[in-house]
C-alpha cells in the first residue's frame, strides 16, 4: 500500500523540557485508512498529531530529530501549502476560531479564502460542509456566542470545507452529545470512502473499535503498539496502558473470567451481540 505520511526516527522535546514528548517514533501511515490514536493523557497523542501537521516544531519550537515525509517529501518543503494537504481540528475548538469573522458562515469560509479558492465555489462548499455537520441553523450567529458543542462542529466544518487529503482530528467529539458524536464518525467513514486518510485521537474507544482500520497506542511518548484493531482492543492489558477498553471487550473478558470461552473477544457491540446470542441459543459445549 501507498504510504501517505511517514515518521522516521522521531524524537521531540518541547522547549525547556528535560523529558522527550515523543521517543523514537517510526511509522508509515497508508492512504485511505482511518487511524485511531489511543493512550492516556500526556502519552503523546496530541504531540504526535501536531508533528504530522508540522506544528511541531514550526510553531511549538523545541528540539526535533528525525523527519516526517508527506507523499515522500519532507514536511518542511511544503511551507504554507501544507494547509491544503492536511486539515487539523484542534482539541480545544476555541483555538480553531480565526477571531476575525462575525458569523459562522464566514468563519467556515475563511480557510477557503486563505488558500485562494475560486469565489464562485466557496458558497456551495461552505453550505455543504455546514449541512454535513448540522450547523446550517447557526450560519448567521457570531462564533463567539456558540456553545462548546456548536463550536466543535463549526471547527470541523471549517476543516472539511477545504477537502484536504489528510484529516487530523484531536478529540473532535469531546463536547458533543451521543448523536452528534455518531454523526462525526459517520462523516469520517464517508471521508474514507472518498479515499481520504483520517487520523483521530479519541478517548471513546467504543467508536474507535467500530470505525477505525488500525489503532496506534501511545505510552509515555512511545508508540508501543499498532496494527490489528481486534487484537489490540480485545486485550485485557489495555487498562494497564491507561486506555479504557471497548465496553464489548470488557463485558466479554468478564464473561471469560466466569468460565465462558470465546473463540475471539468481540470489540464492538454488534460483534458482542452476535457472539453472546449464539452462546445463549446453543447448548453448552
Amino acid at each position: 500500500m501507498f504510504s501517505i505520511i511517514e515518521c522516521r526516527n522521531i524524537t521531540y522535546y518541547y522547549p525547556l523540557s528535560r523529558f522527550p514528548a515523543l521517543i523514537d517514533i517510526n511509522i508509515a501511515l497508508e492512504a485511505g485508512k482511518i487511524y485511531g490514536i489511543l493512550g492516556a493523557n500526556g502519552s503523546g497523542k496530541t504531540t504526535f498529531c501536531s508533528l504530522l501537521r508540522g506544528f511541531v516544531p514550526a510553531f511549538y519550537q523545541g528540539t526535533l530529530t528525525g523527519e516526517v515525509l508527506l507523499k515522500n517529501k519532507p514536511l518542511s518543503d511544503y511551507g504554507g501549502l501544507l494547509a491544503k494537504e492536511i486539515g487539523y481540528v484542534f482539541q480545544n475548538p476555541f483555538t480553531q476560531l480565526s477571531g476575525v469573522k462575525d458569523t459562522v458562515f464566514e468563519e467556515v469560509a475563511y480557510g477557503l479564502e486563505n488558500i485562494g479558492a475560486d469565489a464562485d465555489t466557496i458558497e456551495p462548499r461552505v453550505i455543504q460542509a455546514m449541512e454535513k455537520t448540522n450547523i446550517k441553523d447557526l450560519a448567521l450567529k457570531n462564533p463567539l456566542h456558540l456553545s462548546g458543542g456548536q463550536l466543535q462542529r463549526t471547527a470541523l466544518a471549517s476543516v472539511l470545507v477545504q477537502e484536504p487529503d489528510i484529516l487530523i482530528l484531536d478529540e473532535p467529539t469531546s463536547q458533543l452529545d451521543p448523536q452528534e458524536t455518531r454523526n462525526v464518525f459517520d462523516i469520517v467513514k464517508a471521508l474514507k470512502e472518498q479515499k481520504k486518510t483520517v487520523i483521530i485521537a479519541e478517548h471513546k474507544t467504543d467508536l474507535i473499535a467500530e470505525y477505525a482500520d488500525e489503532v496506534l497506542i501511545f505510552e509515555k511518548g512511545r508508540l508501543t503498539n499498532r496494527g490489528n484493531i481486534n487484537h489490540i482492543l480485545s486485550s485485557p492489558d489495555l487498562i494497564d496502558r491507561g486506555v479504557l477498553p471497548p465496553q464489548a471487550a470488557l463485558l466479554s473478558n468478564k464473561l471469560k473470567q466466569y468460565g465462558i470461552s470465546f473463540d475471539s473477544i468481540p470489540i464492538t457491540y454488534d460483534q458482542a451481540l452476535n457472539v453472546i446470542n449464539r452462546l445463549l441459543h446453543t447448548e453448552k459445549r
Binding site: A40, N41, L244, L255
Partner: protein
C-alpha cells in the same frame, strides 16, 4: 442539607426565544443526579439557574430557604459550587495552590481550616504534585482537575459539574468516580451534566432527562429503563451496553450487571 426547588420556572435569553418553560422540580439535599439531554436541551441553563448565574424570567428557584432572586451570585456561591465545562472560564491564578486557595475567604467564614481544605482538595483530585505549577502549563485534562479542586476546597452543600468526563482518560475517570464517592459519603448534593452515557449509567442512580424546553423524565435508573422510548424522545443514544442487553432480553446498563445476568442465563441452559 438544602433542597433545590424550581417553582414554575421559565427562562429566555434576551435575543433568542425561550429555553426553559414551566419547570417544576425538587432535588432533595444529598441526592446525586445525572442531568442528560441533547446539545441545546437547556441543561447548562437549568444549572446556571441553580447557582444564580442566571435568574428566572418567570417563577422562583429556591436553595433551602433562600429564594435565589433575593441573593447575588456571589452569595449563592457559598452554597453552590459550579465546575465549568471549560476550566479556563474559572482559572486565573498563577499557581495551582493559589488557584485552589481562592476559597480561603469563604472557608474562613465557615470556621473551617483553610490549609486542611486546600490539602484535601488537592489530594483527591491528584493535583498535589502540581501545587507550584502554573495551571496554564498543564494540559486541558489536568486544568479541569485544578478547577474542580478549587470548587471542592470551598466545600459547598451543592456541586454542579458540567461535562466532567470530557477529554478524561481512564485514570481521569477513576479520579472522578472517587470524587463523587467521597461527596456521596459527605452527603453533598451532586448534579452532573453529561453526554457520557456509559459513565453516568454506571455511576449514578438518579437521572433528569431534558428535552423540548422542559424535563422529560426525573427518576431512578431502573425507572429510566422501564420508560419506553425515553432515549428516543430525548434525542439521545442509549448507552451501548443497554442496547446490547435489550437485544439479549435483559436489563442492565453497566458491564458488571450485564456480565452477571448473561452468565446466569448461560448457566441455566441445558
Amino acid at each position: 442539607m438544602k433542597d433545590i426547588l424550581f417553582q414554575n420556572v421559565s427562562f429566555s435569553y434576551p435575543d433568542s426565544g425561550s429555553v426553559l418553560e414551566h419547570i417544576d422540580l425538587k432535588i432533595n439535599g444529598g441526592e446525586q443526579i445525572a442531568l442528560i439531554g441533547h446539545n441545546g436541551a437547556g441543561k447548562s441553563t437549568l444549572a446556571k439557574l441553580i447557582n444564580r448565574l442566571l435568574s428566572p424570567t418567570d417563577g422562583n428557584v429556591w436553595i433551602g430557604d433562600m429564594n435565589t432572586k433575593e441573593y447575588t451570585a456571589a452569595k449563592i456561591a457559598h452554597h453552590v459550587g459550579y465546575v465549568f465545562q471549560n476550566p479556563d472560564d474559572q482559572i486565573f491564578h498563577p499557581s495551582v495552590e493559589k488557584e485552589v486557595g481562592f476559597c480561603r475567604k469563604i472557608v474562613r467564614q465557615k470556621g473551617q481550616n483553610v490549609r486542611a481544605q486546600i490539602d484535601a482538595a488537592l489530594h483527591i483530585t491528584g493535583m498535589e504534585k502540581y501545587r507550584t505549577k502554573n495551571p496554564f502549563e498543564l494540559p486541558l485534562s489536568l486544568r479541569r482537575f485544578v478547577a474542580m479542586a478549587s470548587v471542592l476546597a470551598m466545600d459547598p452543600d451543592i456541586f454542579i459539574f458540567d461535562e466532567p468526563t470530557a477529554g478524561q482518560d481512564l485514570a481521569g475517570r477513576n479520579t472522578l468516580i472517587n470524587i463523587f464517592r467521597d461527596l456521596k459519603e459527605k452527603k453533598k448534593t451532586v448534579i452532573v451534566i453529561s453526554h457520557d452515557m456509559e459513565f453516568v449509567f454506571e455511576n449514578f442512580d438518579k437521572f433528569i432527562v431534558m428535552a423540548n424546553k422542559g424535563i422529560l423524565f426525573f427518576g431512578t435508573r431502573k425507572e429510566a429503563f422501564q420508560t419506553p422510548q425515553l432515549f428516543k424522545k430525548a434525542g439521545l443514544e442509549p448507552p451501548g451496553i443497554l442496547r446490547l442487553c435489550r437485544h439479549l432480553g435483559i436489563e442492565a446498563a453497566d458491564v458488571e450487571t450485564a456480565a452477571r445476568q448473561i452468565y446466569d442465563k448461560w448457566v441455566g441452559l441445558p
